[in-house]
């Protein structure tokens, strides 16, 4: 186990720059999730840590060692690939023991490690099978088994669950977390699924366009996103954004005025982006609370909650309510906003104002 330190890591393919200076300190034993939209450079970053991609500039340390120019095999890392990359011509046991075999371990040692890993992952009965004879979830486990037998300093995962169906994904999510709690190996996990990020990470790194947008614990990112991108990316359905200006009465967007939280970073007349998560709307059954009226566009009952698309001024927003709501398109409902849960961003969305 070891720290992983990225200092000003950059990557270009010829003239094309894809990673623009990433700084990241990962503590020993931490579970860090890299998340971001497709093409933002998550895989590239992970593969640079693995040694599968050269580092154009910057310093990468694992433990105290600068590993920029080391081969993957000398970095003491293990990686779980999206396609699992199990060797089709080897049995489960051989697949799992393969790396040990190439590190000069003897047969008894290999057997012991493979059996230990198979025991943890529930693969003991499958050791003699070939990958083609396994289900998706079993293959996934073998891929993890191959990573843990060696007891590496760092685990790297690149979207390991994206080939599984929704149910299995939830199960495996739990298993990976449990495995981490048990082994306490430093883990870097790439996904584009923010639910995976929220549920698994000790800390989340949000990437966008080859840059780090924010680093933090899942709920910190949820509660205090540093900019509009992170605010919109974390949470589902995503945060609603309204653009407008600050006036005496509050926040003005088209003909609607919304309440403003106290904030030091704003001045009168400033153009800002006003963000509110869907669950922070309330049906206005408390007279006396500041309320606005919205026009219903679409009602989607989910059973446990109701998702309502509504028009606020000239912006469509989504609200999620605990109550069951009846009504049709064009009806007007009165809603109030949870003023403590309002996020204010600068007009270009780049910085948080409150």
């Amino acid at each position: 186990m070891a720290d992983v330190t990225l200092s000003d890591i950059r990557k270009s393919y010829g003239a094309l720059k894809t990673i623009h200076g990433v700084n990241l300190d990962i503590r020993d034993g931490e579970f860090v999730v890299l998340v971001g939209p497709s093409g933002c450079g998550k895989s590239t970053l992970l593969r640079m840590i693995a040694g599968l991609e050269t580092i154009t500039d910057g310093t990468l340390k694992i433990g105290d060692r600068r590993v920029n120019d080391l081969d993957p095999k000398d970095r003491d890392i293990a990686m779980v690939f999206q396609s699992y990359a199990l060797y089709p011509h080897m049995t489960v046991a051989t697949n799992m023991g393969f790396s040990l075999e190439h590190r000069g371990a003897n047969k008894a040692e290999i057997n012991e490690r493979v059996n230990w890993a198979a025991g943890i992952l529930g693969l003991t009965n499958l050791l003699d099978r070939y990958p083609r004879q396994l289900s998706g979830g079993q293959r996934q486990r073998v891929a993890m088994g191959r990573a843990i037998v060696r007891n590496p300093q760092v685990f790297l995962f690149d979207e390991p669950l994206s080939n599984l169906d929704a149910k299995l994904r939830v199960v495996m999510r739990g298993e990976i977390k449990a495995l981490h709690r048990r082994l306490k190996t430093t883990t870097i996990y790439v996904t584009h699924d923010q639910v995976e990020a929220m549920t698994m990470a000790d800390r989340i790194v949000v990437l966008n366009g080859g840059r780090v947008e924010q680093i933090g614990a899942p709920l910190d990112l949820y509660d205090r996103p540093a900019n509009q991108f992170v605010a919109g990316f974390i949470g589902s359905p995503s945060m609603n954004f309204l653009t407008g200006t600050i006036t005496e009465q509050g926040f003005q967007t088209s003909d609607v005025v919304l309440p403003l939280p106290a904030s030091k970073g704003t001045v009168m007349g400033q153009a800002i982006v006003y963000g509110i998560r869907p669950e922070h709307f309330r049906l206005n059954d408390h007279p006396g609370r500041a309320s606005v009226s919205a026009e219903i566009v679409l009602i989607e009952p989910m059973g446990s909650e109701t998702q309502v698309t509504m028009r606020l001024g000239d912006t469509q927003v989504i609200g999620v309510f605990r109550e069951r709501i009846s009504g049709t398109t064009g009806d007007i409902i009165n809603i109030s906003l949870d003023i403590d849960a309002i996020h204010l961003f600068s007009g270009d969305g780049a910085i948080r104002l409150n």
Binding site: A50, G51, L52, D71, P72, K73, I77, A78, M79, F81, Q82, S83, A85, L86, Y87, P88, H89, F98, S99, H102, R103, R146
Partner: protein
């Protein structure tokens, strides 16, 4: 197109295929049967589709008139060497072109592909002169070295490259993380997975070497050194006319073993060839 065929269509199709089969199958039958007929019967009228009487002495003449065992061995060992050598050379080159990033890879690949454009017939004159200077005329070296390293192996390299291109990159990356170097990745991961492509390369190469005719007659001059195709044509009478029964017996001995191997392993043969990546 794939709807169930009516019984009448079925019969018609079987009939058509049986007629079409005649020129494919009959010559082999005729070769084998004629080789055991007495010389007086081989041009008999009406033609004897099934031999009326047998004469096995023809076969002993095959071995008396020429060092046929030696020639058989020549063909066999040359074909075996060429097959194994080509598999090594072309799988390595094919792998590198498909999988390793190195400077000028594309340019070099284009140069190598030139070999497909330049049949060995084009270069036979200078090749003869080169091997003459090297003192290798009337040895088997030209028949071994040129196919393994020269133009004939380019097709094999191309087939291997097409195969390796389809191999998932993540497999190799997993192997790198597992601690394997380039050569081990090639030997332990890529090559074992390339068995179907290797099989088709082996079949192609073996048949090519086994059938080689122009090169042996250009390079070889003594009966001891001859390969089978060349030897077959040497069973001639005093006037240079073919001794048919003996030629047919020697031809049968040449053709039958490969044919038998083919029948046994026909699935690998046919499917291997269909897998050469020629599909586009």
């Amino acid at each position: 197109m794939k709807a169930e065929l009516s019984p009448r269509t079925r019969t018609a199709l079987y009939g058509l295929m049986c007629v079409l089969l005649i020129p494919f199958v009959f010559p082999t039958w005729w070769m084998v049967t004629s080789s055991i007929k007495p010389i007086s019967d081989i041009f008999a009228f009406p033609p004897q589709l099934i031999p009326q009487s047998y004469d096995w002495t023809t076969y002993s003449k095959v071995f008396e008139l020429q060092p046929f065992v030696r020639q058989y061995w020549n063909s066999a060992y040359i074909a075996a060497l060429v097959t194994v050598g080509t598999m090594v050379v072309s799988s390595m080159a094919g792998y590198a072109f498909a999988r390793i990033r190195f400077p000028y890879a594309n340019t070099i690949f284009m140069i190598v592909l030139l070999g497909l454009l330049i049949p060995s017939e084009v270069t036979i004159v200078p090749l003869f002169q080169m091997f003459l200077k090297a003192g290798m005329v009337n040895t088997h070296w030209p028949l071994i070295l040129v196919p393994i390293f020269g133009a004939p192996s380019v097709f094999a390299t191309f087939v291997m490259r097409q195969f390796f291109v389809t191999l998932p990159a993540e497999l190799e990356e997993a192997a790198r993380v597992d601690g394997l170097g380039r050569f081990k990745i090639f030997a332990k991961i890529a090559l074992p997975l390339a068995k179907p492509a290797l099989a088709s390369v082996a079949i192609f190469t073996f048949l090519h070497s086994w059938n080689l005719f122009l090169e042996p007659i250009v390079f070889l001059s003594s009966a001891e050194m001859f390969t089978l195709p060349q030897a077959l044509t040497q069973y001639t009478d005093a006037y240079g006319g073919p001794m048919w029964n003996i030629q047919l017996a020697a031809a049968t001995l040449t053709a039958l073993p490969v044919l038998i191997v083919f029948v046994i392993a026909q699935k690998q043969f046919v499917e291997g060839l269909a897998h050469t990546g020629l599909k586009g």
